[in-house]
């Protein structure tokens, strides 16, 4: 009895949870095409006008620009720092390794509100103007642990004697890193970069304290929620963003798989 019942119960439960997880996203996408200002059932007919309004909205385009800029900058820096950190902690078992790892991983658990306000105080104290750039500085901090994790899991997967071989053949240590280690890790580096980019692009809590007048996309979105007439535009934007991030994350996940599968075989 039990043996027959459990699997079906489990799969039904799994399907229900999945449905609940995807439903809000699906609803946003459906309503982004709905020809009505109010977000209520029943649906009123198909339209693309909300998507059209997005491209006429200068403030929005500026916010997208800010988000792309700090997303790109902070992910680049975080990927570089994360890679350096990952190589250091995977390849060297030296004193200082654990404390570095602990400090670099700490932003994973510290509430973003605390990171945000502490930087607000610091920037105010030393006279750095609040801006998208200031938020970008903070995004590097929250992205480093993710970049480190992705790159480190790749480094663990291949032996360091490849670097040694390159050095035996006359490469300097840094030459071996650049010409052997980095190319082998390149899918992981891309995955790390994309992951960091998604984190920065979506980050609201810290940015809300630091951006000043350069609203990033999440900050702009949040400010628009107060105006009921802007809702359809926000929903259309949300639909685009969710679809794009899901696609990017699927690609990142696939990259990570590709990266890790040879290690599992060997």
């Amino acid at each position: 009895m039990r043996k027959c019942n459990l699997p079906s119960l489990g799969s039904i439960y799994f399907l229900v949870v999945c449905a609940v997880l995807y439903l809000p996203i699906l609803l946003l996408i459906i309503f982004s095409f709905n020809n009505a200002t109010a977000l209520v059932f029943p649906l009123k007919g198909f339209t693309l006008q909300w998507y059209g309004t997005l491209f006429e909205n200068r403030e929005l385009l500026k916010a997208v620009g800010n988000s792309l800029m700090i997303g790109f900058g902070s992910s680049l820096v975080a990927t570089i720092f994360g890679t350096m950190g990952a190589i250091a902690i995977v390849r060297f078992k030296l004193p200082g390794r654990n404390i570095f790892l602990a400090v670099a991983a700490l932003p994973l658990v510290i509430p973003y509100v605390i990171l945000g306000v502490s930087l607000l105080i610091l920037f105010n104290e030393i006279g750095i103007r609040l801006s998208a750039f200031a938020a970008g500085l903070a995004h590097v901090i929250i992205s480093i642990p993710y970049a480190m994790l992705v790159v480190a899991s790749r480094l663990v997967g291949f032996p360091d004697n490849l670097e040694e071989a390159a050095m035996d053949l006359g490469a300097s240590y840094w030459g071996a890193l650049l010409r052997v280690t980095i190319p082998i890790c390149s899918p992981a580096l891309l995955a790390a970069f994309l992951l960091c980019f998604t984190i920065s692009f979506d980050e609201y809590a810290i940015a809300s304290f630091l951006v000043g007048t350069d609203a990033t996309l999440p900050v702009y979105l949040f400010s628009q929620l107060r105006f009921p007439t802007r809702l359809p535009m926000v929903v259309a934007l949300a639909a685009i963003l969710m679809t794009v991030t899901m696609a990017v994350m699927l690609f990142t996940e696939w990259l990570r798989r590709v990266v890790q599968s040879p290690a599992k075989k060997g």
């Binding site: 997880l21 209520v40 509430p111 605390i114 609201y204 979105l221 929620l225």
Partner: protein, 284 residues
């Protein structure tokens, strides 16, 4: 010696960055917590008054306990919901389990702000849930079912955290040696007995990690309460945000932030004592 200098060159730049943009602000915030104000004479006056008023203000304590209660509720319910998911994936889903796990995680990677926003639209009094119920005739008048309440905050955050809580539980269940269960069955153990005496105890580190996965980040939550919480659903994070953005009492806000920081670090310390940290990062 050579290794040492290579190691130093590798961790030097990121360490310097962490020092300046992460540790230094924490230090400056600590100094701020003793200031009497943020301008003029008050700025240069150092005092313990902020700590004193933090310790005596019952409004702060109420919000702190309420936040802790909300976070605790979220993490317990999320773990209860996530456990059967992870169990199903590991023991019943067969070779597809990693793909199915990914399916579960994908929505969690989309914008957190937008998912909370979606729930605001669903739960709102002129929202989707209400209009759906109205249009199919289940209810006669639109009612503010859930929005702007503690319940709305809890429901929304459970939605956000269930997939993440499932990860460490999945990892813990995967590690269980399936021979143990077979041996138990061979020795005449009922399936539920084997579950209670083998699977559940062995997956305990995963459950614990899952609990903390939801508990730690939700403690500092302030965005979700802003969107769906209303007055009764506001949390400690909102109080901190208020001190900085509205009340402009930065020293008081610093004290509150430090109190939360200590609480979170304490939780993390307990977690690392209870289960090894390497287990946690394996699947995240």
């Amino acid at each position: 010696m050579e290794n040492r200098s290579r190691f130093a060159s590798l961790i030097g730049p990121p360490s310097l960055y962490l020092l300046l943009i992460f540790l230094l602000p924490m230090g400056v915030m600590f100094v701020y917590s003793f200031r009497a104000g943020i301008a003029g004479v008050a700025y240069d006056t150092f005092t313990l008054a902020n700590y004193q008023s933090f310790l005596t203000n019952s409004h702060f304590h109420r919000l702190l306990w309420r936040s802790a209660g909300i976070s605790f509720t979220i993490s317990v319910i999320s773990s209860l919901l996530a456990y059967p998911l992870a169990y199903y994936l590991v023991f019943k889903a067969g070779p597809n389990r990693v793909t199915l796990l990914t399916l579960l995680i994908i929505p969690a990677w989309t914008s957190y702000l937008l998912r909370v926003f979606a729930w605001k639209l669903i739960l709102g009094s002129s929202g989707l849930l209400n209009s759906l119920l109205l249009s199919i005739g289940l209810i006669e008048v639109a009612s503010p079912i859930l929005i702007y309440s503690r319940g709305a905050v809890i429901v929304t955050l459970i939605y956000v955290w269930v997939p993440f809580v499932a990860l460490p539980i999945f990892a813990a269940l995967e590690r269980i040696d399936k021979n143990l269960l077979e041996a138990a069955a061979d020795l005449g153990c009922q399936p539920w007995e084997a579950f209670l005496r083998i699977t559940l105890p062995l997956s305990f580190p995963g459950i614990l990690a899952g609990l903390f996965f939801a508990l730690i980040p939700t403690l500092g939550e302030f965005v979700t309460p802003l969107l769906v919480g209303g007055v009764s659903g506001s949390m400690y994070g909102n109080l901190i945000q208020d001190q900085f953005m509205r009340a402009l009492n930065w020293p008081m806000g610093s004290v509150m932030s430090l109190a939360m920081l200590v609480a979170v670090l304490l939780l993390v310390f307990i977690l690392t004592r209870l289960s090894s940290l390497t287990d946690l990062v394996r699947f995240s």
